[in-house]
Symmetry: C2
Amino acid sequence: MALGAEWKARLYGNDSATPARGGRKPVTSRAELEHVAFDLFAAQGFEATTVDDIARAAGIGRRTFFRYFPSKNDIPWGAFDEQLDQLRTDLRAYPVDQPLMDVVRAALVDFNRVPAAEVPWHRRRMALILQVPALQAHSTLRYANWRQVVAEFVAERLDQPVDALGPQTIAYATLGVALASYEQWLRDESQDLAALMAAAMTGLAESFTGVRTT
Amino acid sequence: MALGAEWKARLYGNDSATPARGGRKPVTSRAELEHVAFDLFAAQGFEATTVDDIARAAGIGRRTFFRYFPSKNDIPWGAFDEQLDQLRTDLRAYPVDQPLMDVVRAALVDFNRVPAAEVPWHRRRMALILQVPALQAHSTLRYANWRQVVAEFVAERLDQPVDALGPQTIAYATLGVALASYEQWLRDESQDLAALMAAAMTGLAESFTGVRTT
DNA sequence: TAGAGTAATGGCACTCGGTGCCGAATGGAA
DNA sequence: TTCCATTCGGCACCGAGTGCCATTACTCTA
């Protein structure tokens, strides 16, 4: 379950400067398998689609499927971990005098911005992740890395250890904001994801007004 | 995975006024199995312990185990869903003029109060849930019910639909506060869980001060 | 052009969680 | 004792995931 280190090297590209001298060429790609799988999911549902089905539809062996994805549950996640590096960078690109939660909110919104052309695809992806129980569960493990990135940034700003209560709480809460927003976004096509996230964040802030902070 | 309706009836007690006329007596109990399982988990770890191991150690058939727990992942959860009814009640026991987030915070703290005698047990339970990847993942599904209870209460107070952005965001964020607090609590024996939750909540509130709420 | 080396493939067998089925065992009530 | 309800647990089966390993396909070099 806990996506080993080999995978990071294996899954997320050729790691730039890999010589890759010889050897047989991969017969397919993560992207292609993802596509094949999504079609099947749409047709028969996630649970009802077996890895065998996917492999057969893609013309590869079942065993080979598991060389492209560590698990069936990972199919919808694409190159998520790669994007985390971007988030890490983005968070630090904001001026240091900008209030902490403003930065977090802005970065959250940015992180989840997708090109208009990919919106329908992204919807399907997120619908799977947020609505299929097995994927809901699995996603927790993926979110952990995301939270870690946020927590690291907050920890720096607050000059606290990463695993201290403050940074961790904020990271968890921010994730909550994101998830609540996504659920809303999936419910209503016409809503703008970025706007929802901003609204959720400020809404949460508002709900705390009047709470004693000492 | 999605714990069916039969289970609610089956797992969580005799449902008070059940006549239970005749029939063979259960040969064991959830509590006993939980105990046997925890011993094995402590000895060999969660992953390394198979359902067969547990059944054998408890002197029951493997098939029977699954009549007591819907899955291996559910072992540490005890009677969680029962407690939710308590939370639901508690939230409404606070005066209506008490600020929303104060009530949520107080209820959160109350919900997680455990008798001193059970603290060591609770620690082991939560250590499993929060640290074993498979259980981390599975717990998401259990938390959903918890969030629902909080969201319902918030929705009433704000006079919004349960699935609106506000209630959902607050429910998610509150869950985050709880999880961050638990992680902290597990890290340091000497900390008081209730105090950590209160601190996390007010800390989150503080972090929002200065955020524009319009 | 014939290797030699390298990397991906995919079949096989296996483990483990989880389920449907069904006969056997158990205990209360008539 | 008989009937009924309920639990037990074996059996067969499914699907995800893994270790092993021979095979295939590709590149580079002698």
